[in-house]
Amino acid sequence: MKPLWLYLHFPHLHLDTLFKNAGSKTEAEQPLVILHGKQNQIVQFNQAAANLGINSNMGLGTAAALSQELQVIPYQYELEEKKLQEIAEHLYLVTSDISFFSPNGLLLRIHNMLSLYGGLQAYWILLKKQLHYFNISYHYATGQSPFAARMFARTARDMITEDSQQLQKALLQCQLTDSELPEKTILTLRRVGIHQLSDLLALSLKDIAKRFDIDLVTYLGRLTGEFHHPMTYFHPKSTFHQYIELLYEISHTDTLIRPIHQLLNALEHFLKVRDLLTQKIVFKFIQRDTDPLELEVGSAQGEYQAKKWSALTQLRLENLSLEAPVYGINLTTGETSIRAPEKADLFSNSQGALSYLQLISLLQAKLGQSAVKQPMLIDDFRPEIANIFHTANQQSTFSASYLQALRPAFLLPSPQPLREKAAIVNGPERISTGWWDNQLITRDYFIAHTYQGQWLWLFKTTEGKWFVHGVFS
């Protein structure tokens, strides 16, 4: 099988990323340029800026002279790189071997994918559909070597073919400047009368090696596919991690929910295509002048849907107070698990909207972890110790094998002195225990009936003092 490569070149990746985030119409009308700060060079610009006559390689001064409404955004290498990563993750759903050409190119090894998708055209249609999700502009080309595909794509050939003659013809049409050779080498080649790439390819590699340096030989060998070109391929991450920078600072928690929605939608997409659930998501709000604020949102059952997560997040946000305006939000997930189908009874007449774990997550999100409890019993005679309340939905190892007879429904937080008249109905029951852990009690418990009709649980200490410990309800 002949190797075949596909290169995707994103000429306006920075601009497209910002556009998608903003997404308003006014942006399209306003001239917008991305300026490389160090080189003082405009690297990307939108249509409105192009209409004004702005082109790349212009300095800021020239561009600003052309329009006073020009909006200038500093170029960020990291932003493009991150976006590229995102695109690669998405493309990984349909293609296996992806290699990065940072900051604005992706190389795909496609010859091994063609038999899966039944031909190049079918594969390309599928890939185009994946790219459509991002709504960005791109150029593409296939080639018999990585460098050839890259060169075609960067010169906007936009061709998809596996015909080797056609590809060879396209290669011969290229200029030397289209290639990635350093300018110095191009100049040296010009001096000996080589202007076209075809001139250079007409020579044998041996002859070139005699006259020129090894870099040129390597490049040409890789371009024609004679030399092996080693590649490192992309592996998708197993956890979700996304950061968005807000276009303006937010100091109210109500307004935070909009950008959070955007993050949660991305999370849903990430989890859905992997058929995963996550039980915890962590927001990090980057605040101006203060430390970042972390917000953990948990769901005991595990969710992937943005709708469910947003409801839980909203409840948590109600209790959150911001110390300073937020300018960036980071979202990461905790551990993920494979989604299992929900088993619901088809025949039960009324079906609730939530499952047990969802209900607990919902309550915990609003009231706090400690407010939702599950009672447990351990083997102890002391009522204060026998009762254990642990946070709901934690697997507990406690269990009591032995139950005492006749205990009240409610226990007072601490025993209170008896202050009213009561008639003893049942008792005594002596509890004398705890000598091993320094909480020794010796009490005689009675059940008493007051004149108001209340049933109390009383005890008498060894000193003869009476206390109320519980109420039979």
Partner: protein, 230 residues
């Protein structure tokens, strides 16, 4: 009976106050466990909805519900939720009566509003069979909301209030007033959908809790025979 009325009745054009919805007729398994109460309620607690209980604390109001709570728990594997209990609930008592503690949820909200919110969420979630709420100031619209939530989740809510907090009649299918009595509790049904409030009656708890009910003991004071009065 007047043949005209009979005719109308056969055509289902007359509604009689003792008629119930078909779904409510089927609730033979919602028995309260106390024959006196079952009789007064004509079958037992409703399957769903809000039950308003006006009772002082500690007279046996929870014990009155225990048999039906246990029956409901045995039927389903749903949860029993305690919301805003006046004191710490004692798990020993629940276990002693045979409730499965894994199916018990204790919610301790910090404010009254949060208590209502939690109760509503539990009711409409569809994963609780009963919700017990202790609340002080309930308003009509709040009760209506709880009633709708209970119907949605097919859940019953018992609402405990104390006497001095009650000012107006709430839109609930069943309202009861409890008073202390030595043998058990004295129940007065103040409101019941499709029924009339009857005279108060005493529910004896002797069968379930012999230790917590005092039978009327015949007075052991024997009058001194008049003839021997010297």
């Amino acid at each position: 009976m007047n043949p005209l009325i009979e005719h109308l009745k056969n055509k289902r054009l007359i509604w009689q106050a003792n008629q119930k919805k078909p779904c409510e007729m089927l609730n033979d398994n919602a028995l309260t466990g106390y024959p006196e109460l079952d009789q007064a309620l004509q079958g037992g607690f409703p399957q769903q909805g809000v039950v308003d209980i006006d009772s002082p604390l500690g007279i046996g109001e929870l014990r009155l519900l225990m048999p039906s709570l246990k029956a409901r728990q045995n039927q389903t594997n749903k949860l029993l939720a305690f919301v805003a209990t006046p004191m710490q609930i004692n798990a020993e008592m629940l276990a002693e009566y045979g409730l499965t503690l894994e199916q018990v949820l204790v919610i301790e909200p910090s404010t009254a509003d949060e208590a209502l919110w939690s109760a509503e969420q539990c009711l409409k979630s569809g994963c609780c069979h009963s919700v017990l709420l202790w609340h002080k100031n309930l308003e009509i619209h709040q009760v209506k909301r709880l009633q709708l939530a209970a119907e949605k989740g097919n859940c019953i809510q018992f609402m405990f209030r104390q006497k001095h907090q009650i000012s107006l009649s709430l839109p609930v299918p069943l309202a009861m007033k409890l008073n202390a009595k030595q043998q058990g509790v004295k129940v007065q049904i103040t409101k019941r959908r499709g029924g009339w409030s009857a005279d108060p009656f005493v529910v004896s708890m002797h069968t379930y809790w012999p230790e917590l009910s005092r039978q009327h003991q015949p007075s052991n004071v024997i009058s001194f025979p008049q003839s021997k009065v010297g």
